[in-house]
């Protein structure tokens, strides 16, 4: 029902509107040992940029290029396996109407 709305935007469409200054090295690290123990993988839900994607295997694929730098993963990860830091100076998201 929601999808019929003309204003509807998927997360991919939302992200495609944004301007980034690309970072070449990931600013997100995951402690694999701790991440493997987590079965619920809440990060794949609450991350507002859908950076964490469930793929084959137990550790989510991290699309760090899409990160909006809110830091929710660092705070919300229950297994405390996400090490998130700021991208390098000037890199990452560039908002204009925020």
């Amino acid at each position: 029902m929601v999808e019929n709305n003309k204003n509807f935007k998927t997360i991919e469409e939302k992200l495609s509107l944004l301007k980034y200054k690309p970072e070449t090295i990931s600013h997100i690290e995951v402690n694999e040992e701790l991440c493997l123990k987590c079965k619920s993988k809440e990060c794949t839900f609450f991350c507002p940029a859908s950076v964490y994607k469930i793929e084959e295997g137990e550790i989510p694929k991290i699309e760090y290029e899409n990160c909006l730098e809110c830091g929710a993963c660092k705070i919300g990860c229950k297994s405390k396996s996400v090490k998130w830091n700021f991208p390098h100076g000037g890199c990452g998201i560039v908002y204009k109407f925020s």
Binding site: K14, F46, P48, G71, A72, I75, V94, Y95, K96
Partner: protein
């Protein structure tokens, strides 16, 4: 990248290479800039380090600033900031699945609340600060504090170490430095709100017509409920809408732990809100130009200790957010001013001890900042515990009441009232009602008690 930042930084330093830095401010948001301007006005050398290339381009909020703090910081030129719309109308809507009950306040006087876009507004703050002698180093990420004998003596960036007798931590909600210094224990999901919003382009004429406002004026809406149906647990989530000159923003703030526990995707909640029959007509025809997100710290229970030898913590870094009134920049700017004043006292005394810098805490305690945070100390917790009541049950009952009240049919009105009252008590366990009464009364008492 690092080379450019270093060059720029060296250039800045060369201007006054003979004098050393008095204060390093980490972060060029409202709190950092307010403290830097206060310090520069006291004749001291202050450098603001900012990780973004364009000022304000990492910052995000719902949409409005409060003029009292801008006037306090810029008594002579507060009018010149890049304002969007004067928000003369605020409304509070309680949503069910397909209906809403709304309370609206409107005035024809100028209000204290004005919508702005942060990249434009924060850039203006920076330009004003530069005029007053504040130095800025953009594209500079501070990775850690340099601490010696429990005293902060400088910062480590990606490229170098910079030393100053005072460091003001204004890096925003992530509070990396406050955590490193032990001023904050840990960041807990239960204390955080995750905000997501979209900015839509919509013609000025359409905004004026749709929201019934004059040119230059605008409105804000708070949207309660409408995000959970049937047996679904309602998250603590509050929607908002702001109008700008040629744009509107629509978004929501949701408790991060609720999102995690209920496995909710914030952008899908946003779509649900946008599609609500009482909300969709407001954004109809608007072109989405940006999606943005931010974490919002908050509440008295989650505050960082605001000072230690050689360092002060301001704004979001310290947790200065009043979620009930959507106040963030206000607290940021005033805390920045207090920190700046404290830094000046310390610099003039040449004493950067914890004891001297505790003056900042006194200033905070005496101000509305700590008073307001104390007033609302339990309200977020209460709202989270009673989310099903606040965001589901009562909006539904309000809607049922008006449906019965406005339907003119053959059912006698007395029966309708009796029926409404019967269902009010029978639709839910009585114990839930008692919990609501107790929790609401407790929160209300905390707010108004002497």
């Amino acid at each position: 990248m690092a080379k450019i930042a270093k060059k720029l930084y060296n250039k800045l330093m060369d201007k006054k290479s003979s004098s050393k830095i008095d204060v390093i401010v980490v972060g060029a948001g409202p709190s950092g800039i307010a403290s830097a301007i206060t310090i520069a006005r006291g004749g001291k050398k202050v450098v603001v380090l900012e990780r973004a290339d364009f000022y304000g381009s990492k910052n995000m909020f719902g949409g409005a600033i409060y003029l009292s703090s801008i006037k306090a910081l810029f008594p002579n030129n507060w009018q010149n900031a890049p304002y969007e719309s004067n928000l003369v109308q605020s409304s509070y809507s309680f949503l069910t699945k397909n209906s809403s009950v709304e309370i609206k306040h409107k005035t024809d006087e100028k209000t204290n609340t004005i919508s702005v876009f942060r990249p434009k507004f924060d850039s203006w703050l920076v330009e004003e600060a530069k005029k007053e002698g504040v130095y800025f180093a953009p594209k500079t990420v501070v990775r850690s504090l340099i601490i010696e004998n429990k005293k902060v003596i400088g910062v480590k960036t990606d490229i170098e170490e910079i030393y100053a007798p005072i460091v003001i931590i204004a890096e925003g909600s992530q509070s990396n430095l406050a955590l490193q210094a032990g001023l904050k224990k840990e960041l807990q999901a239960k204390n955080f709100i995750l905000g997501v919003k979209e900015t839509l382009k919509l013609d000025k004429e359409k905004i004026q017509e749709r929201f019934n406002v004059k040119e230059g004026d605008g409105c804000m809406m708070e949207l309660f409920g409408g995000l959970a149906e049937g047996d679904e647990q309602a998250p603590l989530a509050l929607g908002f809408l702001y109008t700008f000159k040629n744009h509107i923003s629509i978004g929501l703030g949701a408790n991060l732990e609720d999102l995690a526990n209920l496995k909710l995707k914030p952008y899908e909640l946003l779509e649900k809100l946008k599609a609500h029959p009482s909300v969709a007509p407001f954004i109809e025809g608007g072109e989405v130009v940006e999606y943005s997100t931010h974490t919002i710290p908050g509440g008295l229970k989650d505050l960082a200790k605001p000072y230690m030898a050689g360092a002060l913590v301001v704004g979001d870094s310290c947790g200065f957010i009043n979620s009930v009134h959507f106040e963030g920049t206000n607290l940021a700017i005033y805390s920045g001013i207090f920190a700046g004043e404290t830094a000046l006292v310390a610099l003039n005394k040449g004493d950067f001890s914890e004891k001297t810098l505790s003056l900042y805490k006194n200033k905070l305690n005496k101000s509305f900042i700590m008073k307001d945070l104390k007033t609302y100390k339990n309200i977020m917790n209460m709202a989270r515990n009673r989310a099903n009541s606040i965001f589901k049950f009562y909006p539904e009952k309000m809607s049922e009441f008006f449906t019965a009240f406005t339907a003119a049919d053959e059912i006698p009105k007395k029966n309708k009232y009796q029926n409404f009252i019967f269902h009010f008590f029978s639709d839910r366990k009585f114990s839930e009602l008692l919990k609501d009464i107790f929790q609401f009364a407790k929160s209300a008492f905390e707010v108004i008690k002497w």
